[in-house]
Amino acid sequence: MTAPLLELKDVSKTFRGSRAESVVAACSVNLQVAAGETVALVGESGSGKSTLGRIALGLLAPDSGSVLVAGRPLLQLAAAELRRARAEMQPIFQDAAAALNPRRSARGHLLQALAARGAAKEAEAIALLESVGLRPGHEYLHRLPHELSGGQRQRLTIARALAPQPSLIVADEPLSGADVSIRGQILNLLLDIKQRRAIAYLLITHDISVARAFADRVAVMLMGRIVETGPAERVLRQPEHAYTRRLLAAVPILPRGSAATAGALPKG
């Protein structure tokens, strides 16, 4: 049995705040993402899911436990190997504006990311821009982040994440910053990427409908612990844990009539 792409083994992390207060962000968390799989990590604010995402990316060292990438512990790798392993996992963040260097053009961002696999060429950058829907690519090359709309910025961060040809993308609330009407576009983009490139996702979100739409497996997090995990279908339809049930019940459901689906379907 091949090792999973990413494995968090017994990971714990506590933040010591001021006045001797400490926040347990993660407590003995076990999580696995297999190649090509989409795992949704669902939880509310303060659950520790973002912290877990950063630990998975190697941006934060856990207090105990280990992060294994393709079976090898991440933080014990030698420098050059670590860099290669890092390039295998790329992030997408919620706030696209904060995720981009305000002084760097789209071209600059992409060339920087492409350099990780030695392919820093403008033609590649243009191809990336077009693959995320920013067409024609050459028109977007020299734009600075503040010259792009919110949706375009998010697409740029996705393009940057794809540049090193990663096998895993850790997406932390990728849709929360976007307007409802563009969410579908970004979702389709992520779906395309998943299907065409067989990239695995660790999708961190508080939005159940995104998890429902996308995930193969779902892990529910509460106060630093994973309270339930399993195939998406099962967890979202027949939740076992009380918290999962509460979470699902709290999502407001639209009253729908048949006319809504039969009516004019706007093209995406």
């Binding site: 969410r183 409908s209 407001p252 459901i253 639209l254 009253p255 809504a260 009516g263 004019a264």
Partner: protein, 334 residues
């Protein structure tokens, strides 16, 4: 439901004018809220929904915002061009407002009990303040011990309840809630919504709930207005809008909200980006993104058409067969 509506926005056009450009935030917007009603206003960035909330209480930036035409009436009284002093008689009572991010709207160096007390003192001077503050905390389901806490010591949900307590201290007839739960977790959101419902019944208070979340608005409101690009494009009873949404934008929004997929498994989306509101564009603001666009759409803004009783849409797909005269109390008739 007799007499003038609590809030009546009639054909209001509002623009923000700076040295560099003009942004047409609202164009010919019609909206009304009757006594005890729960009305929802749905829209995204650039729709103008937040501007509506602020304009109603004169909170738009004074030197930049200008109401070009139309009028806003509160209980029959024209407040369109009110002076700062004049607004004192509108803000808090009869209209109170809560906003999205409670932390920004609470004084960080003042205990919350004191902040609620301030509201009480201003609107009911001479009343026994402490007991009223306790009463209010109880009404919003906060423990009385909260009164001595500072805002940063409370959770997001608790802070929002404090804002609600401040708002209802004045016993308002209308509560405007501008994205009240957007910054909150989904479980807290459900609690706040339940609280709002209870408060409404207890105080016979009307509510204007503004949100980008269709689901939220559907569960809490009797009537809904959908805004896009500064205009109201569809409005009516919640049930009727959800049963048979008419405007392509509304339909698209519903699909997006539920992450619906089409036959090929792709998510149903609305093409394009939210509109740019600088420059007066003729025609429907959604035309550039609409999959059913017709030549007429870019030339002329569609007139309101009544689809059924209490469901109106502005879209050329539904010809002007039954034009609805712009009445003051659209929907507030029993």
């Amino acid at each position: 439901m007799n007499g003038p509506p609590l809030l009546d926005i009639v054909d209001v056009s509002l623009s923000y004018r700076t040295r560099r450009r003009v942004v047409h935030a609202l164009r010919a917007v019609n909206l009304s809220v009757g006594e005890g009603e729960a009305v929802g206003l749905v829209g995204e960035s650039g729709s103008g929904k937040s501007t509506v909330a602020r304009a109603v209480l004169g909170l738009t930036p004074a030197h930049i915002a200008r109401i070009e035409s139309g009028s806003i009436r509160v209980l029959g009284r024209d407040v369109t061009h009110l002076s700062e002093d004049g607004w004192v008689g509108v803000r808090g009572q009869p209209i109170a407002i809560v906003f999205q991010d409670p932390l920004s709207y609470l004084n960080p160096v003042m205990r919350v009990g004191r902040q609620i007390a301030e509201s009480v003192e201003r609107h009911a001077p001479g009343l026994a303040v402490d007991s009223r503050v306790r009463e209010l905390l109880e009404q919003v389901k906060l423990p009385a011990t909260c009164a001595v806490s500072y805002p940063h010591e409370l959770s997001g949900g608790m802070r929002q309840r404090v804002l609600l307590a401040i708002a209802i201290a004045c016993r308002p007839k209308l509560l405007i809630a501008d994205e009240p739960t957007t910054a909150l977790d989904v479980t807290t959101q459900a609690e706040i919504l339940a609280l709002l419902k209870e408060l409404r019944t207890q105080l016979n208070m009307a509510m204007l709930l503004i949100s980008h979340d269709l689901g939220l608005v559907a569960s809490a409101c009797d009537r809904i207005y959908v805004m896009y690009g500064g205009r109201t494009i569809e409005w009516g009873r919640t049930a009727s809008i959800f049963e048979a949404p008419a405007h392509p934008y509304t339909i698209g929004l519903m699909h997006a909200a539920q992450a619906d997929r089409d036959r090929d498994g792709r998510f149903v989306t609305i093409a394009g980006e939210p509109p740019n509101l600088t420059g007066l564009q003729a025609g429907c603001p959604f035309a550039a993104r609409c999959s059913r666009v017709m030549p007429r759409c870019t030339e002329l803004m569609p007139e309101p058409v009544g689809l059924q009783l209490e469901h109106t849409v502005r879209c050329w797909l539904y010809g002007a067969s039954q034009p609805v005269a712009a009445t003051a109390c659209n929907g507030a008739r029993s």
